[in-house]
């Protein structure tokens, strides 16, 4: 034992276990399971493995509502990432994960290692990573007080998070092809950084993480272990407070160069057939990988911690096991093939060393300096995590807020200036300042770049592509978690449909506050039930994801923020569709019903400075027929552009579909207030452009399917003109509006007032 370490008795009497994330009841359970008091290393292992991040102890009962199976699912939840068949012998691998807490403390490294972590999940399955997406949330970039401390910090966080994603993703050579960024007061103290990775493999390349077969060598591969990130998973499962800055040592430091070498080395090792199984060392590092691999295989592991490559001196067993140093993997080698693994790793300059063996007895046995420093039956660490059935209670104010009318103001006199203001809000303006910092083209398979509804990446060696999107609107979820949860899934799927893809499966990241608070748990329960309902209805299995709870600062929780990543299959590359208009004279068709639905809308927030009422309603039947009808039209070759209507309603959808030259001329007969018509965020709506000769055929398909479809205008050159009921609302040259929209975030970030 390390001389400075507290003894098992001191851990008990001084309640040291609390610092490691165990509460009194959990600690007592550990003592009962072991029949003795655990030492420091063992207590640390329980602390991380029983954290929410690793055990889902608060969310498991809810997550069981998600469908996880489907005819195309090759691997559901439980391994590094989900795997879904796309035919021709290929499959895609994908997952989303949060890195919220580290990014709040050290935004560059927090975001960078978020990207590194999700990529390791992807290539630990045997896949080559082909795309990164991300979903980011920050506080407002500005308010009415110049130099306001919280907005300065927000701009710092935003700038550094984007730089961190760029720094890691660009260097490792995986394109960052899409994502979303939203801004709201609720994220000021607790920004969200969710990263999604997508990979492609041939079926025969699929790897697993089961350690089986006593005597097989356990090989440590990658960067040396340091003192960074110790207890990161536990830290991620706590609320942030004013002392959180002292947790900087809990933030890992990324090395994308090593990440790149590690990808190439791993893929080459897999191809050689020299290893039996593999898992990455992510959250809870060596602890999580060794215990989970053993537990999945029903075996144990004996590890000599002195053999673990270390970059700091005199590391204790506790530190070695709890470190979250990046760019590390754990292999179980096939018998007699160790030297092949070493040779390939050496070629790529990646350290690789045998640190122990698989043993029959299902026990994690750790030696350090010839002493046994841990002896833990795996069923105590992995199978005995207490699962909490949390109580829920509807939060105060929810019902009152829902009862309020969402529209409490008169039609603004100058709607054109409202529109100009709206398109410059960070929520709605172009995110080009963000995505131009990401290399979204490397690997030369990106056929639809950031800025469309979904990004599209071609599958090399086939005529297929993957459409991918990540989405979530927390304002809706805050007003009504169930409807908000439904919309999150439906909209992400709709994005993929608009790109010509059939949604195959989803991955989700549930960012919520402290689940021990009954009101927060109510949000979680409601949102998950809404999401699950849509997943079941649209046949979208959830193949994996991540739960990030305790997103609170000084007792104030973020809006409940489920983020949904969807990947869909485009059967033939020619069906790939973007939102951009193609030719002057093309006919614009608006599909779906536009209603007076402004609860939680960007327009409402801009007008009133807050949100209230109920979010737009979602009718699942209508959503499904809309998605089917649009996909059929795209496949029949009649659709030139397709764009989901969401944030900012029709007005924003029209503007974002314009190109430098192609604008619109709209005259729409609609029985609604003009501001409602333009900015309502009613669901299940899509804007299509079609050539005049094909318009009738698309319209007739929509009639057949009973999808509301109306001609609202046409594509014209250089203008942005909108009339409602022949009454002119906006008459403008296109370019000035595009400039306002295109450069709003850049102005905010580079030239703040």
């Amino acid at each position: 034992m390390h001389p400075d370490e507290p003894t098992p008795d001191q851990i008990y009497s001084e309640q040291v276990y609390r610092k490691m994330g165990l509460n009194d009841v959990e600690y007592s359970l550990v003592v009962e399971l072991l029949g003795r008091k655990p030492n420091l290393t063992e207590t640390g292992i329980f602390g991380v493995m029983w954290s929410e991040h690793c055990s889902y102890k608060n969310s498991k009962p809810l997550l069981s509502r998600f469908p996880v199976d489907g005819p195309e699912v090759l691997q559901g939840p439980g391994e590094g990432a989900g795997v879904v068949d796309i035919g021709d012998g290929y499959a895609f691998v994908f997952k989303v994960e949060s890195h919220n807490h580290p990014s709040a403390i050290e935004p560059y490294q927090g975001a960078a290692t978020g990207v590194g972590g999700i990529l390791r999940d992807i290539f630990s399955m045997g896949a080559r990573p082909v795309a990164i997406l991300n979903s980011l949330r920050f506080g407002p970039l500005s308010n009415n007080e110049p130099g306001n401390a919280s907005t300065s910090r927000t701009r710092y966080l935003f700038r550094r998070v984007v730089a961190g994603i760029a720094g890691y993703g660009n260097c490792i050579g995986v394109p960052t092809v899409g994502g979303e960024v939203c801004f709201d007061e609720c994220y000021t103290g607790n920004p969200l950084v969710n990263a999604m990775g997508v990979g492609i493999l041939r079926h025969d390349q699929l790897q697993h993480g089961r350690a089986e077969g006593a005597g097989k060598s356990v090989i440590y591969v990658g960067s040396a272990t340091g003192r960074d990130g110790i207890h990161g998973a536990t830290f991620a499962s706590e609320e942030l407070n004013k002392d959180s800055d002292t947790k900087r040592p809990s933030v890992q430091v990324g090395d994308p160069f090593m990440g790149k070498l590690l990808i190439e080395a791993c893929l080459e090792v897999y191809e050689s057939g020299a290893i039996y199984s593999v898992q990455d060392m992510g959250a809870a590092g060596l602890t999580c990988s060794s215990t989970e691999m053993s537990d999945k295989g029903g075996v144990g592991m004996k590890l000599n911690l002195n053999l673990v490559p270390q970059r700091a001196e005199n590391m204790s067993a506790y530190e070695i096991m709890l470190s979250e140093s990046q760019e590390r993997m754990l292999f179980v080698a096939n018998p007699g093939r160790e030297e092949e693994v070493f040779a390939i790793c050496k070629k790529w300059n990646v350290p690789a060393v045998t640190i122990g063996h698989v043993i029959e007895e299902p026990v994690l046995r750790l030696k350090h300096h010839d002493e046994t420093v841990a002896e833990l039956p795996l069923k105590t660490v992995c199978g005995s995590t207490p699962i909490y059935q949390r109580e829920s209670k509807i939060p105060e104010g929810v019902l009152e807020r829902q009862k309020q009318s969402a529209l409490t103001w008169d039609v603004p006199e100058d709607l054109f200036s409202v529109f100009q203001q709206l398109i410059q809000t960070p929520e709605l303006s172009s995110k080009s300042w963000v995505y131009q910092q990401y290399d979204y083209m490397v690997r030369t398979n990106t056929s639809v770049r950031p800025g469309s509804d979904a990004a599209v990446v071609r599958v090399e060696g086939t005529d297929k592509s993957l459409a991918m999107s990540i989405d979530g609107n927390s304002r809706y979820v805050f007003l009504d978690p169930k409807t908000g949860g439904k919309i999150a899934v439906a909209e992400a799927a709709r994005n993929v449909v608009c790109s010509g893809g059939r949604p195959s499966a989803i991955t989700d990241c549930l960012n919520f506050g402290n689940p021990e608070n009954q009101e927060i748990f109510w949000q979680l329960e409601q949102a998950v039930s809404g999401m699950a309902e849509v997943c079941n209805f649209l046949n979208l299995p959830v193949t994996g994801g991540n739960v990030s709870l305790y997103n609170e600062t000084e007792g104030k929780a973020i809006y409940p923020t489920p983020v949904v990543g969807v990947v869909g299959l485009i059967e033939h590359n020619v069906q790939t569709t973007t939102l951009f208009f193609k030719n002057t004279g093309d006919v614009l068709l608006l599909l779906g019903d536009t209603k007076n639905e402004l609860g939680g809308s960007v327009y409402q927030h801009m007008q009133m400075g807050k949100i209230f009422g109920i979010p737009p309603e979602l009718d699942l039947e209508k959503e499904l027929t809309l998605q089917q009808a649009v996909l059929e039209s795209i496949r029949s070759g009649n659709v030139l552009s397709a764009h989901d209507l969401s944030h900012g309603g029709l007005a924003l959808a029209l503007l974002t579909s314009c190109t430098d030259d192609l604008g619109v001329s709209i005259d729409w007969k609609i029985d609604l207030r003009p501001d409602v018509a333009l900015f309502s965020e009613s669901q299940s709506r899509i804007l299509l452009s079609v050539s005049p000769k094909n318009a009738a055929s698309v319209e007739s398909r929509m009639r057949q399917k009973k999808v509301p479809c109306v001609r609202i205008g046409k594509v014209v050159s250089g203008r942005f003109d909108i009339s409602l009921d022949s009454f002119s609302i906006i008459q403008s040259a296109l370019q000035p509006l595009r400039d306002l929209w295109q450069n709003a975030i850049e102005r905010e970030m580079e030239f703040p007032v």
Binding site: K260, Q436, Q437, R443, T444, N573
Partner: protein
Amino acid sequence: MRCAVLVFPGSNCDSDLYKAANSVEGLEAEYVWYKSESLDSFDAVLIPGGFSYGDALRVGALAARAPVLKALRGAADSGIRILGICNGFQILTECGLLPGALHRNSGLRFICKTTPLQVVNTDCQFTTGYKKNSVTHIHLPIAHGEGNYTCDSETLRKLEDNGQIVFRYSGNNPNGSVANIAGITNEAGNVLGMMPHPERAMTKWMGSEDGRILFESMRH
């Protein structure tokens, strides 16, 4: 024509360059590991973009001292064509096969987008195809954090006098490079370094086919 695609630790556009070259009739690309000591069997050398050695020390600095560099210098002297793209350009300036240096972008941010370029010299060994097709204004993607080309005024004068400036940014200069330089050759004209990525502009679905002409020009 056999083309070597050099692979350094951290190269990440190697497979893009390999695919691009192999898609052009008459070109045949093969990967060559950075430890290789000979390039004798090749008719051209392509140095890909990426982050060789993780940009440690200085972009391109360590790759410029890798084992294969000896063979690369020999190849340059022998007059075969050498094309360095992005990090490849940085490596060529670091090892002295091209003059000048590449600094951080003036905006201090990595920038990825398609940008308009002017083909200034359509008579060089890499650009005759542009002349043949009467194309001098093209679009190619850029993706770099350190593409701000700089050199002293004497060097700049030489570059201009000798027609060594092959590409210039024709819209807004994205990185602050001197004289809007996007790509230059050595004096002999057989070594080209450029920040834009022609291998990312090979077919219509990539958004531009203007890069293909460069590879096609290399055959002659």
